[in-house]
């Protein structure tokens, strides 16, 4: 067979081509839009922020940080895991209480309280924080993060961890 293939007229051909692209675009959008939402939207939280008891406020000495251990449930995807958490807790002179997140704001190492120097010291890269969490020296970019706290019936309740503002203190 040596006949040349039959070609459609230019108008019809143009119509075909634009229809192919249009339909392809519609299907592409209808598939990718839900996929993007599915991938990038955060999961609906199954529980509100949880308050857990960390100890008696009365047992705290003013300006003497102590590391308190508490247990809390954390939603991890399709599981709820029960895990141990810690906070460095300071009773301020005005009787309010501050609870710092237990990780250095530099690279996440665990820091500790040096009672002899009245400073929080991180052993990894020598970041030093004051009693109110401000950076005194070292590479830490910002003050220590703080837990939400409240006091009820003399008990300290710990809420979620709030990152301190990114501005170097």
């Amino acid at each position: 067979m040596s006949q040349s293939p039959e070609l459609e007229g230019p108008t019809r051909r143009r119509f075909y081509v634009s229809a192919i692209y249009a339909i392809g675009g519609i299907i592409g959008a209808a598939l990718s839009a839900p996929a993007l939402v599915y991938l990038f939207s955060s999961p609906k939280s199954r529980q509100n922020s949880q308050w857990v008891e960390a100890g008696d406020v009365a047992s705290l000495e003013p300006d003497q940080p102590v590391e308190l251990v508490f247990h809390r449930n954390r939603v991890d995807g399709w599981k709820v895991v029960s895990e141990k958490g810690t906070a460095w807790v300071v009773k301020n002179p005005d009787r309010s209480v501050t609870a710092f997140g237990p990780q250095c704001t530099h690279l996440g190492c665990a820091y500790h309280w040096e009672a002899s120097k009245d400073e929080f010291v991180c052993p990894c890269h020598n970041s030093v924080f004051s009693l109110d969490g401000k950076v005194l020296s070292g590479p830490a970019p910002r003050s220590l993060d703080r837990f939400e706290t409240r006091i009820e019936d003399g008990k300290l309740l710990i809420g979620s961890l709030r990152p301190s503002s990114g501005i170097p203190a």
């Binding site: 067979m1 006949q3 040349s4 293939p5 039959e6 070609l7 459609e8 051909r13 075909y16 081509v17 229809a19 192919i20 339909i23 392809g24 519609i26 299907i27 209808a30 598939l31 839900p34 996929a35 939402v37 599915y38 991938l39 939207s41 999961p43 609906k44 199954r46 529980q47 509100n48 308050w51 995807g77 399709w78 599981k79 709820v80 019936d153």
Partner: protein, 545 residues
């Protein structure tokens, strides 16, 4: 001047030849008679791509082990935006793919397009049909709900009953006839790791052969000028794909795919049903019982597949116009009647299923943390209409004090005294005495003591089945043996996470006759009214882990 991208495309083509290859592909010459009836192959490929795309999206949030599989799918359905839609597309896409592949096959069969030199194209097509069914079979287990579990139990039993091969198949499918972690892992690997690349290779080979021999002409085509694949035929393919996609998308949005209770191997009442496209086989099995069973489960399907593969060698006559292929038409008609009849019979004899309770985990779940006593307290609270006078946090009546603030100042003894004789405890109060017995007042007090501004929403959110179920729980003193949310004794098993372990029917039957289902159990039988039984069971199955 040429647009900039044109230069880039030319550069890329000189280096890779990709554009020339695409042009060559699109410039294929096809017979003059080609048209709408040839679109089905393209639609099948498109549906396969949709399955691959949605499958990857599902796998991103899926844990492929029993139990976790179920929980992660539930997470996809209730916690993730768009999760239900994507699962719907995957579920209905599977069904549609079977339909389109079957229609494609029927079209090729009716036109005799399997004849020389296209025998291998046809045979590969039959293999692709089997692969498609293989996806359906292995994917069915992956949600790990009762439907998935019991359906797969039947399938593995059938495989085990095959003559000669039975024991080997059983071992391949994960051992001793029981469906567990091993079988699950193998089905998952088959569905996600083995079949997809195999399918891609088979499709590539199938399309290669179609191109090698060209689209099948019909008698008379030789005299007419040939057409180009692009854009006319591509346009028809695209329109057909769009129609298929529109139907699929509508199904995914409108028809909710259920997730049943977690798989329960001890559930003796579950009646497994296969997916609709396997119903005809299911019905054949019902008709052939006893020694004939193996005929229905293995011999007939095996022969049917063999016959399909051998079609090009059975019918070796010359190409005829489709209107003169009466034998082929008769075959298709017979097969269609047989399939429809068997499927209709299976549908007609479907036993009425017990109404499954699907617990809506997307709603607020704070009430789930309350103890049964506190939940029963909510029931009394509602029954006594306390909110008519008392505010619960913000808003509400200001006649009595806000009850979210009272618990800090009062103890249970004070409250119960107050319920019984309000005037004695608080002279001058307008509160009427509450007419409940001591145990009931205890529940009410337990709930009020726990009430604070933060958990007050549980009071509004607790569904009636939970508060009523908790009432039954309290009335029958279940807490003297069982523990819920850390409250109660540990003589019997703790009841949190019951839905993971037991099905609804098991729980209901267990109430009536515990010793029968749990030999050695010291639990006495309970006879509840249907309403109490329903509320209590639903409540217990809703308890979180």
């Amino acid at each position: 001047m040429k647009p900039h991208w044109e230069g880039v495309a030319e550069w890329l083509d000189r280096r890779t030849g990709v554009r020339t290859a695409l042009r060559h592909f699109l410039a294929e010459e096809i017979p003059a008679s080609s048209g709408w009836r040839q679109v089905l192959g393209s639609v099948a490929v498109f549906l396969f791509l949709v399955q691959a795309f949605t499958g990857v999206l599902l796998a991103i949030n899926y844990a492929p082990t029993p139990g976790d599989a179920y929980n992660s799918l539930r997470y996809i359905l209730t916690d993730l935006t768009g999760g239900r839609l994507i699962r719907g597309l995957h579920h209905w896409g599977a069904s549609m793919m079977i339909v389109v592949v079957a229609l494609h096959m029927i079209q090729v069969f009716l036109y005799g397009a399997y004849k020389k030199p296209r025998e291998t194209t046809w045979m590969l097509g039959v293999v692709l049909l089997l692969v498609t069914l293989g996806y359906g079979l292995t994917g069915y287990l992956l949600p790990w709900d009762n439907r998935a579990y019991w359906g797969t139990v039947v399938v593995t039993q059938i495989a085990g009953s095959a003559p000669v091969l039975g024991p080997y198949l059983t071992r391949l499918l994960g051992g001793g006839g029981a469906v567990g972690v091993v079988t699950f892992a193998r089905f998952f690997v088959m569905h996600v790791i083995v079949l997809p690349p195999l399918t891609l290779a088979l499709i590539a080979l199938h399309v290669f052969l179609v191109r090698k021999h060209g689209v099948t002409p019909v008698p008379g085509d030789e005299l007419l000028p040939r057409k180009q694949f692009y854009p006319g035929q591509v346009f028809r393919d695209t329109v057909a794909i769009f129609v298929a996609f529109a139907v699929l998308f509508t199904m995914a949005v409108a028809v909710r795919v259920p997730l049943e209770q977690l798989a329960d191997p001890s559930d003796t009442t579950y009646i497994p049903r296969p997916e609709w496209y396997f119903l005809f086989l299911f019905q054949t099995l019902k008709l052939l019982t006893g020694p004939l069973e193996v005929v229905g489960s293995v011999v007939l399907p095996g022969l049917a597949v063999m016959a399909l593969i051998l079609v090009p060698f059975i019918d070796r006559g010359t190409m005829l116009k489709v209107t003169r292929r009466t034998t082929a038409m008769a075959f298709v008609a017979l097969a269609a009647i047989g399939w429809t009849g068997l499927t209709a019979m299976a549908v007609a004899t479907k036993p009425a299923a017990a109404p499954a309770t699907e617990i809506d985990y997307s709603g607020p779940t704070d009430w789930m943390q309350l103890s049964p006593e506190e939940l029963a307290g909510i029931a009394y609270f509602r029954q006594e209409n306390c909110v008519a006078c008392h505010a619960i946090g913000e808003g509400g009546s200001k006649l009595g004090p806000d009850l979210t603030l009272t618990s800090i100042h009062r103890d249970a003894a004070w409250m119960i005294q107050h319920f019984k004789q309000p005037g004695l405890v608080r002279p001058g109060t307008s509160m009427p005495a509450i007419q409940l017995n001591d145990a009931q007042l205890n529940s009410l007090a337990a709930f009020l003591l726990k009430l604070n501004p933060r958990n007050a929403t549980a009071l509004r959110n607790a569904p009636d089945f939970a508060t009523q179920g908790a009432l039954v729980y309290q009335a029958n003193d279940c807490g003297s043996c069982h523990r819920v949310n850390g409250v109660g004794e540990t003589v019997g098993p703790a009841l949190n996470g019951l839905s993971r372990r037991r099905s609804r029917s098991w729980v209901e039957q267990h109430f009536a006759d515990p010793a029968n289902l749990s030999p050695g159990s010291m639990m006495p039988p309970f006879k509840f009214s249907p309403k109490d039984l329903d509320n209590l069971t639903t409540y217990l199955l809703a308890l979180p882990e």
